[in-house]
């Protein structure tokens, strides 16, 4: 039997606020346990939460960026449960009334066709603490640094149909939230977390099959892999005529397989009710419209502008806007070196290669846009050749030195001195009589070969235009 895959994703992202959601503790990672804590986030008796307005603004921005309808009146609810990661015994979360609902984002399906993925809800909540299990001991310890960090949870409708679509959804979501400057969305660092609900059903069936929930994926790739793994597992079960058990599965990255975390997916009864300590969250039309007009230009719009304003090919525009920081890098570079296509080529080529080597984003490396501009100017000025420039970029990128310093220190200055080059040209002509003869008899394209010889003689430092000129002059003498 043929089956259709049905996937829904629940994504938690940490907002980029200065302080936590309900107190003034810094929202920053720190390794020392329980350092960023105060009586409020530790739930001391008698303390009360204070809502962080900046977190609300960011959650509103995220909701708008994901095309959601905005709840002008919402509130926080208490999700009651007993676990040591929540000092109050409940989590404050927008359970009944999310700030954003009925949104969507656009991706490409597996056949490259545009597809709209519906987003059911975007809601705010506070993060929980972390349990640390003592190595070799039987004790568990709790670190409350993360308690109260503002999160938004973004839940899709069951619209995704393959692991590839799921991955593209996550990439697009990350791009949008980065563009909107509400989260850095680093899954490896936990600022983006994803759980997946997955089920299979016979093609043409409208009712959903029984689903499993996948947890503990630490990268987009892991999400894709775990889904592939789970599809195969469910497929085999269904083909044997058995039933898929509703359960929570944990992805084991080392073994590339899942293990059962919890049996039957019982609906938790969190005994939710509206928190009586916080005031209802009321948004005004002005607030929402202000946030809407402050929405930064998103990737698609920016790519269109790159094509229109800079005359870049569609491919270049797509690559450069794939992350906000790369597009920012490109435009900053243009401020000091106004040749968009050349800048684009260098960013997509050598610069991206260097980034990939070290696994950094464009805004994390010490080779800043003005350094790239400086490098490109040196080529134009004839100070270095394009070939040498690649070497300079690599060295400057790795050492953190300015390109001009690298050129000077490494003696990579281009040779444009006629008398110095004349001797080399004569040497090349004398050593390659056959090629010279060919040229004279009309096969002028061998000049390329001769220029190459001359470049090799100088270790790539010769000014190729000048060498070409001198060679032609010498041969035609």
């Amino acid at each position: 039997m043929e089956f259709e895959v049905v996937i829904g994703l629940e994504v938690h992202v940490e907002l980029q606020t200065e302080s936590k959601l309900f107190c003034s503790c810094p929202n920053r990672f720190i390794s020392e346990p329980n350092f960023n804590t105060c009586p409020v986030c530790l739930g001391f008796p008698g303390t009360l939460p204070q809502l962080n307005n900046e977190a609300v603004r960011q959650a509103l921005t995220a909701s708008l960026a994901l095309n959601c309808e905005i709840a002008y009146f919402s509130y926080f609810d208490r999700k009651n449960y007993f676990y040591p990661d929540m000092p109050k015994g409940y989590q404050l979360s927008q359970y009944f009334e999310p700030i954003g609902s009925s949104g969507y984002l656009n991706i490409e399906d597996d056949n490259g066709r545009p597809k709209k993925v519906r987003i059911g809800r975007v809601h705010m909540e506070e993060d929980a603490g972390k349990l640390v299990h003592a190595v070799g001991g039987d004790a568990s310890m709790v670190d409350y640094n993360r308690v109260g960090v503002p999160l938004v949870e973004i839940v899709t409708e069951p619209d995704l149909r393959s692991p590839g679509e799921s991955r593209r959804y996550l990439e697009q979501l990350k791009r949008i939230l980065q563009y909107a400057r509400v989260s850095d969305c680093k899954m490896e660092e936990g600022s983006l977390r994803c759980d997946a609900n997955i089920s299979l059903r016979p093609i043409g069936n409208q009712t959903l099959g029984s689903k499993t929930e996948l947890k503990n994926m630490n990268s987009f790739k892991a999400v894709e892999k775990s889904l592939e793994h789970e599809i195969k597992r469910q497929y085999d079960i269904l083909n044997r005529g058995e039933e898929v058990l509703s359960q929570t599965l944990r992805w084991e990255e080392d073994k590339q397989e899942t293990i059962v975390m919890r049996g039957k997916l019982e609906a938790h009864d969190y005994r939710c009710f509206i928190d009586p300590e916080l005031a209802p969250l009321e948004l005004t039309v002005e607030q929402v419209e202000k946030a809407r007009s402050a929405l930064p230009e998103m990737a698609e719009a920016r790519a269109a502008r790159f094509i229109n304003d800079y005359g870049l090919p569609e491919y270049d525009a797509g690559v450069l806007t794939s992350s906000r920081c790369l597009a920012d890098y490109f435009e900053t570079c243009l401020d000091s070196y106004n040749n968009p296509k050349v800048v684009s080529n260098w960013i997509m080529g050598e610069f991206s290669a260097q980034l990939n080597n070290v696994g950094l984003e464009a805004d994390q490396c010490s080779f800043r846009p003005k350094e790239l501009a400086e490098l490109l100017q040196m080529i134009d000025e004839g100070v270095i050749s394009g070939k040498i420039a690649k070497e300079v970029l690599e060295k400057a990128f790795q050492s953190g030195k300015a390109p001009r310093t690298v050129v000077e220190e490494e003696g990579l200055l281009q040779i444009s001195d006629q008398s110095e080059l004349q001797a080399i040209v004569e040497k090349v002509v004398n050593e390659n009589p056959d090629s010279v003869e060919k040229y004279r008899s009309g096969t002028t394209k061998v000049i390329g070969f001769l220029v190459g010889r001359a470049m090799k003689e100088t270790g790539g430092k010769a000014n190729p235009r000048l060498v070409n000129e001198l060679l032609v002059k010498k041969i035609e003498e």
């Binding site: 009586p39 530790l42 739930g43 001391f44 008796p45 008698g46 303390t47 009360l48 939460p49 204070q50 809502l51 208490r78 009651n80 007993f82 676990y83 040591p84 000092p87 109050k88 015994g89 409940y90 709790v142 009864d269 005994r271 939710c272 009710f273 928190d275 009586p276 300590e277 916080l278 005031a279």
Partner: protein, 477 residues
């Protein structure tokens, strides 16, 4: 200085002018405290040396020419309100040694005005009750008849003259019933007028900080100091929208008092008779009475308990042996929770957690909790509506005489004691409990309920009527 005979203004003036030093005043008070405490069991902690040190600091300020509105005046704080200098027990043996790293906003404001906290007053276990009968420190004895409880230790403290003001919590009426049983004044302010920050309450919706004193004048003096917007408590935002300046107190002849005659039918005949006499005194003073109907009192009481039980189960879930309270030996987490919570919470705390958990469960939520919220809304509307026909409402403060010290009351009887106070808590309106008469030598009080922020009117009426009649147990100051 006989604290029961002077107003806070007069007492502060005596200290500010150097007629008596804060140190003398406090030393004298502390001596009285220890004597009285032996018989009445008013205090869980007496400040001793800390209070004397603070008194010296106040005297230094006064020597430098500072004038403080509560200079050197002895005040007490109920033991569910955090005061960082002394232990805050919440009425629980589990927290006998707990010193909060913060002080309640209202306490801070009193201290900034020159008041000196001489001790923490007794309360029911986790302040669940309005009798002090379940206190692990033993019940507070009624100063008028030692066979009975005082209901509120703060009221007993004021009645015996060991302090001029007490900050007390009031949820379903503990403060107002205590004032009634001890023959003093107790104010539950408009919701949001006084910050709740630092009050450990089992009910976030109804728990408030109120004031107990010997006169309306003293209450209003203290209210002006402790009220106002506090960034740490969202409910105080109502203070920002409120026009500043004093309430104009209308002429006595223009005031109409709404009196729901049917409410008094709930009372035993002798008690009812006392209230009838009191009502006559008010009428003799020229106040007009209009009859009106508050039909929802019984439903309001039920709704109050449904909401309060639900909130108790959530607010008390942090007392789990991991963050707060001692952990019991256990083989696994669930056992740890069961044993520790069972040990930390007293009988009433366990009862309320269990009931509250049940009430919030799926299925029950709609049947009980949601229904209670609806009734809450109706009650609010009924009170607001009633106050469009009159300026004040008059209600009994108590349904019976206080509990006998030795008796363990049935919990349903205890809950039904709140019949006249809990509905007012639902209304969010200010309510003043004041002496109205006596039965078997024990004072009984009534409540005046006003429109939001009309506390000045309540106390003006109260002081004038009480001055004119013989049932004020302390004579006329």
């Amino acid at each position: 200085m006989e604290l029961r005979k002077v107003s806070i203004r007069q007492a502060a003036e005596a200290v500010n002018s150097g007629e008596v030093s804060a140190h003398q005043l406090i030393e004298e008070t502390l001596n009285n405290c220890s004597v009285l405490n032996e018989g009445l069991n008013i205090f869980t902690h007496i400040a001793g040396i800390d209070a004397l040190e603070q008194a010296k600091a106040i005297d230094r300020k006064i020597e430098k020419g500072e004038k403080l509105p509560l200079a050197g005046l002895p005040v007490a704080v109920k033991d569910d309100i955090c005061y960082g200098v002394l232990p805050t027990s919440f009425g629980s043996t589990a927290f006998k040694e707990f010193i909060s790293p913060y002080t309640a906003t209202a306490v801070e404001k009193l201290m900034d005005a020159g008041a000196i906290v001489i001790g923490k007053t007794n309360l029911d276990d986790m302040s669940l009750g309005s009798s002090t009968a379940s206190s692990p420190f033993g019940p507070t004895v009624n100063p008028w008849n030692t066979e009975y409880t005082a209901s509120s230790a703060g009221a007993a403290a004021v009645a015996t003259g060991v302090c001029m003001l007490v900050l007390e919590s009031d949820c379903g009426g503990a403060l107002r019933q205590g004032a009634s049983h001890c023959g003093v004044f107790g104010l539950r302010p408009t919701r949001g007028r006084v910050s709740r920050y630092g009050l450990n309450t089992y009910s976030s919706s109804f728990g408030q900080v109120g004031i107990t004193a010997i006169s309306g004048e003293n209450i209003i003096g203290a209210l002006e100091i402790i009220s106002g917007f506090d960034g740490k408590d969202a409910s105080t935002a109502v203070c920002k929208d409120r026009p500043t300046g004093k309430n104009n107190v209308p002429d006595f002849e223009d005031l109409r008092i709404g009196c729901p005659a049917a409410a008094f039918d709930h009372l035993e005949p002798e008690l009812r008779e006392e209230y009838e006499k009191a009502r006559q005194v008010y009428a003799d003073q020229g106040l007009q009475f209009i009859d009106l109907d508050l039909s929802l009192l019984s439903e309001a009481l039920q709704a109050y308990y449904v909401i309060v039980l639900a909130e108790s189960s959530s607010n008390h879930s942090r007392f789990d042996g991991i963050r707060f309270g001692a952990a019991e030996e256990a083989g696994n987490l669930e056992e740890l929770y069961c044993k520790s919570r069972g040990a930390i919470l007293g009988r009433e705390g366990r009862r309320r957690s269990i009931f509250g958990t049940l009430l919030l469960r799926k299925g029950n939520y709609d049947l009980y909790y949601r229904q209670a919220l609806r009734i809450w809304n109706l009650v609010r509307r009924e009170f607001t509506n009633a106050l469009t026909y009159c300026d004040l409402l008059m209600l009994p403060a108590v349904k019976t005489l206080p509990r006998l010290s030795a008796a363990e009351p049935d919990f349903l009887d205890s809950w039904s004691d709140d019949l006249f106070c809990a509905p007012v808590s639902l209304s969010g309106l200010p309510a003043l409990s004041l002496p109205a008469g006596q039965l078997q030598g024990i004072p009984v009080g009534l409540q005046l309920v006003g429109r939001p922020f009309s506390e000045e009117i309540l106390v003006t009426v109260a002081d004038r009527v009480v001055r004119e009649v013989k049932f004020f147990p302390y004579g006329n100051s």
